[in-house]
């Protein structure tokens, strides 16, 4: 458990009786870049807030850096090692960029002046500029600077690139990858931009309707999952839906598209017993995995 920076066990949360999280078991290893995927309202922000102790779970446990976080004191200790960028990216409107940095610095004994100077230059943030006069992209960059410079072991980013133009998005993603590579920082970021996740993440967690539906290393998932296309002479038989090893099935007329995982050869053997006219096997993209798992009612 000690090499897991984030670990949750059977995490549940409801709002006014409506279940937002239905027993989440997350495991994020140290040094990984973990993309936390899901549709709007799937439970991403709720999970992030629970990790930061902004919300309290109805049931279940949260372990950060191997320590149980169940009190205000343990949450404060954990937050000392965490950098956070919220979805809204709002800072204090009565401060300038420089004042904001000087305000945050003393809270973090491991503050990295070198990283502060580096990202001030990379992001071209003018220290004298008041926060309200920053564009959304610049605000995001300032928040990232504050998160990156504090020497955090874990970055929790809630939709970090939301609302940014492609150029700024690329700068932000490169900064994250650079930090993970140079400092070994663990990055846990929620997003619904699949291309970004595929670009920088080495691990993904997919949440849907408050449940974790996929979790694992991105490469392993891509190896483990295959798209099997079956074309039949007549209507696709209903039996395809109950094939062992098949996660999801979409049928349209004579064609059945299966998302299979595990022992693909064994699944193919079973599919061939249904006597399709043709069988094709394709690798899957993250987008396909996402769509197949969240489309089901």
């Amino acid at each position: 458990m000690n090499d897991l920076v984030i670990r949750t066990r059977a995490l549940r949360k409801s709002y006014d009786g409506a279940l937002a999280l239905r027993g989440i078991d997350l495991a994020v290893p140290r040094g990984s870049i973990c993309g936390f995927l899901g549709r709007n309202g799937a439970g991403k922000t709720t999970t992030v807030k629970l990790l930061l102790n902004l919300l309290r779970p109805d049931a279940g446990n949260i372990f950060l850096f191997g320590e149980l976080v169940d009190t205000e004191a343990s949450a404060v200790a954990a937050r000392r090692r965490i950098g956070f960028v919220s979805e809204e990216k709002q800072l204090y409107p009565y401060m300038t960029v420089g004042q904001t940095i000087r305000f945050i610095r003393p809270f973090f004994p491991g503050w990295r002046r070198d990283l502060e100077a580096k990202y001030l230059e990379v992001f071209q943030l003018p220290e004298s500029k008041p926060v309200p006069k920053l564009s959304k992209g610049m605000r995001t960059q300032l928040m990232l600077l504050l998160a990156l410079s504090r020497g955090a072991e874990l970055l929790i980013l809630d939709e970090p690139t939301d609302g940014l133009d492609p150029a700024v998005t690329e700068e932000v993603l490169q900064a994250l990858v650079g930090l993970a590579a140079a400092e070994g920082t663990t990055i846990f970021f929620s997003s619904h931009h699949l291309a970004e996740v595929e670009q920088i993440a080495d691990r993904v967690c997919l949440i849907d309707r408050g449940q974790l539906v996929i979790e694992g290393a991105l490469d392993d998932l891509k190896t483990e999952y295959r798209r099997i296309l079956l074309v039949f002479s007549g209507e696709a038989p209903a039996a395809v839906a109950s094939l062992v090893g098949v996660d999801h099935v979409r049928t349209r007329g004579r064609t059945a598209s299966l998302l299979a995982h595990g022992d693909i050869d064994a699944t193919l053997d079973r599919a061939r017993q249904l006597r399709p006219e043709s069988v094709e096997v394709h690798p899957v993209t993250l987008k396909e995995l996402f769509l197949d798992h969240v489309k089901e009612a």
Binding site: L54, R56, R79, R80, Y92, F103, F107
Partner: protein
């Protein structure tokens, strides 16, 4: 640094209030109204004015950061503050103590001329100023409590409503005895042979303590 942040959040409110109080002592008419009339109005209503000042300075807390936002679900910079490695109680304590100190400073500065004009003398005068500070803490604490649960506007409406209720409760003798508003009465201090409003002090201190206790309990449990 939290102290500096609290100062940054409240300084314009304080400047505004200081300017309002300072204007009372300017000679000559203000927008056509003779200053003597304004001063007389203030002297009649200084308890209410101080109460309002206290409620204004109790704002600008954690929840007020959500006020001028983009609609429901907007958190402003509150989430950023809460993600700092600082306990919620500490955030509240620093903010509350800063505003309380500003309120007391404002009341002391504006009460001294009243004491002087009333010819209260040093002993009674200083007692009166101390009493005004203690009693204003009741209004301040009520407002600080509202600031823990609502945004800026409702915090003001709620605390003004609470001050209004305190005013109404003056009509009911059993409640009036401990009413913080009685502790502001300059004429009572001037007329009394000895310390007149001990019960109002006790009532104010109890109300302030109760509100602070409730605010801390709410903060401990509140979900953001």
């Amino acid at each position: 640094m939290l102290l500096w942040k609290a100062w940054m959040e409240t300084r314009w409110r304080l400047v505004f209030l200081v300017a309002c109080f300072a204007l009372l002592w300017v000679e000559g008419p203000l927008v056509g109204v003779p200053m003597a009339k304004l001063r007389a109005a203030f002297i009649l209503q200084y308890a209410t004015v101080w109460g309002f000042a206290a409620t204004m300075l109790a704002g600008a807390g954690l929840n007020s950061q959500t006020t001028w936002g983009m609609g429901a679900g907007y958190h402003g910079s509150m989430l950023f503050t809460l993600s700092l490695p600082v306990a919620r109680r500490k955030l509240f304590a620093v903010r509350a103590l800063t505003g309380a100190a500003e309120t007391c400073a404002l009341i002391i500065a504006s009460a001294l001329p009243l004491v002087f004009f009333a010819g209260l003398g040093w002993a009674k005068g200083s007692l009166y100023v101390a009493g005004a500070c203690v009693c204003s803490m009741a209004a301040y604490a009520v407002s600080a409590l509202f600031a823990c649960v609502t945004g800026e506007m409702w915090q003001l409406y709620g605390s003004w409503g609470a001050i209004g209720l305190l005013g109404l409760s003056l009509r009911y003798p059993p409640l009036a005895r401990f009413n913080p508003l009685r502790g502001f009465s300059l004429s009572a201090y001037a007329a009394a042979a000895q310390f007149p409003w001990r019960d109002a002090w006790i009532g104010s201190a109890l109300l302030a303590a109760l509100c602070c206790f409730a605010a801390v309990k709410i903060l401990d449990r509140k979900e953001y």
